[in-house]
């Protein structure tokens, strides 16, 4: 990671291996007058794969978007490896970090969206190469080489020069996954990445993600309605309701023996 003079030197305690990869501390999020998240606390350990489940509108997307800095916290803190993401506590006061500092920590996080969002003004390869070249300062050759091996991994190496509109939704989403991985993130956020796909295309995308989960130690936060997938890749499932963690457990346990009636009802409805 390139050093930035603006980056606050962190204490040993903060960067130690003990620090979780992600920590939400008393996170509060309001949209206008609607409170979506209230005093939310949870921790995601290094290399953990956590699936967030819960009824629509329970705030799952908001959690991922806060972590990606696409929404602004209205209270509390998010820590990544012990470093403050957008707000820091100094002398007991909550201070907003400057965009440059935010950008430093944000580079450790990648996200794949429900709608793929490939850049239509670029080929598949350019889509993947763009950020590594312009953000990480990789050479075009180096970035392209890396992009091709990522395309290989998602089974689309031969489509490198295709235009996004020439690809099926499933293929586009696999490119989007490769694009996020090209930034070498420590944390990958997946927000209902198969929800916009025709059913027959879902499998390929999930297989790619299972492969990523098996072959890397990237920490993953996953929002999905694919319960079998959640079982396969995650080591913990968190059930959200009303902006709070209702219960959390390893998938086998939570799916087969939910403690809350709400969780039971929710699982019956989605399975």
């Amino acid at each position: 990671m390139p050093t930035d003079p603006d980056h606050r030197p962190t204490t040993d305690a903060r960067t130690s291996e003990e620090e979780p990869r992600v920590r939400f501390e008393d996170v509060h999020k309001k949209f206008g007058r609607t409170t979506v998240l209230e005093d939310l606390n949870f921790v995601v350990g290094r290399g953990e794969r956590v699936t967030l489940i819960g009824p629509s509108g329970s705030g799952k997307t908001t959690i991922l978007r806060l972590l990606m800095t696409l929404e602004t916290l209205t209270g509390g803190y998010i820590w990544v490896d012990g470093d403050p993401l957008t707000h820091d506590r100094r002398d007991g006061k909550r201070v907003e970090l400057r965009p440059k500092q935010v950008a430093q920590v944000r580079k450790r996080i990648g996200m794949v969206f429900q709608q793929f969002n490939l850049f239509p003004n670029m080929t598949v390869l350019q889509n993947i190469v763009e950020a590594p070249v312009h953000v990480l300062g990789q050479s075009r050759e180096q970035a392209a080489e890396n992009a091709l091996s990522l395309l290989e991994k998602v089974g689309l190496r031969e489509r490198a020069d295709a235009h996004p509109t020439e690809l099926s939704g499933g293929q586009q989403q696999r490119v989007a996954i490769a694009r996020a991985l090209a930034m070498d993130p420590e944390i990958l956020l997946l927000d209902e990445v198969t929800s916009a796909l025709d059913p027959e295309l879902v499998g390929d995308v999930l297989n790619v993600l299972k492969d990523v989960a098996a072959s890397t130690d990237i920490t993953m936060l996953i929002v999905t309605h694919e319960m079998q997938f959640a079982r396969d890749v995650s080591n913990r499932v968190m059930m959200f309701d009303g902006g709070r963690v209702l219960e959390e457990a390893p998938p086998e346990q939570l799916f087969s023996n939910p403690q809350h009636e709400r969780t039971q009802k929710f699982l019956e409805a989605v399975v």
Partner: protein, 249 residues
């Protein structure tokens, strides 16, 4: 009848000299400035901090809300007195007034196009940690560009016709020259010749912009829907309105 055509034949070449030159100069200079003004104000209105958005909005409304002719007179007669510097000269005055006036409309086209780039594109660029300049230059602008060309096409054609006022700051443009030629060949051939020349310029300009538009849209693989929406926005701006915001930030 033959006399009419011979008069037209006399008028056309006369207008194609100085008249055409001053009209083209005003148009081309005005067009370049218009695009610059449109981009600066349009990006400021969409991306600037609140205070800058307000400033840009006020500037845009000022130039849209006041008469081009009065702006022209102001720049030509009042500004030199205010600044104590010399006159800008007719050509620069014309270019400045046209560029600012049409640029103010163009700013709305630019803002509307930026706004029409889907929110997901902006967010993905952020998720890839792109700095603002990279995001704009590499991701947003190429998409917005395709959407703003129909609007610029309309404005360019309007600008061609709008140059007819530059005679007021003593340029010998097509309109002024046709008035001169009228004394020799009569009203009909003189103004018909001027109309023809204006029409041809506007037609060529429009064709060129359509070609640019087609190229930009092909590159993006834009669907009919986006193209139609861009045309609608363009027409709304021409009618003095503001494109409705359907998407984006």
């Amino acid at each position: 009848m033959t006399e009419f055509f011979s008069d037209l034949g006399t008028a056309l070449p006369r207008l194609l000299g100085e008249g055409l030159r001053d009209t083209l100069l005003s148009f081309l200079g005005g067009a370049v400035l218009m695009v610059i003004v449109a981009v600066v104000l349009g990006v400021a209105m969409h991306q600037g901090p609140r205070w800058l958005r307000v400033v840009a909005r006020v500037v845009v409304e000022f130039f849209r809300g006041t008469s081009l002719v009065v702006q022209l007179f102001f720049l030509f007669y009042v500004l030199p007195n205010l600044t104590g510097l010399g006159s800008l000269g007719g050509t620069w005055t014309a270019i400045l007034a046209l560029g600012l006036n049409y640029g103010a409309y163009g700013a709305e086209v630019v803002r509307g196009s930026l706004n029409a780039v889907p929110a997901g594109q902006w967010e993905t660029a952020t998720a890839l940690s792109m700095p603002w300049a990279t995001k704009m230059r590499r991701i947003i602008w190429p998409q917005a560009w395709a959407l703003m060309l129909p609007g610029f096409n309309n404005l360019m054609v309007m600008l061609v016709k709008g140059t007819a006022v530059v005679g007021l700051v003593l340029l010998n443009d097509l309109t002024f020259e046709s008035e001169q030629v009228r004394r020799e060949v009569g009203t009909w051939p003189a103004f018909l010749a001027a109309l023809l020349i204006y029409f041809v310029i506007a037609w060529v300009v429009s064709l060129a912009l359509r070609a640019l538009e087609a190229r930009a849209q092909r590159r993006l693989g834009l669907g009919d829907f986006e193209v139609r929406k861009a045309r609608q926005d363009a027409d709304q701006v021409m009618a003095g309105g503001v494109p409705d915001d359907q998407d984006g930030r």
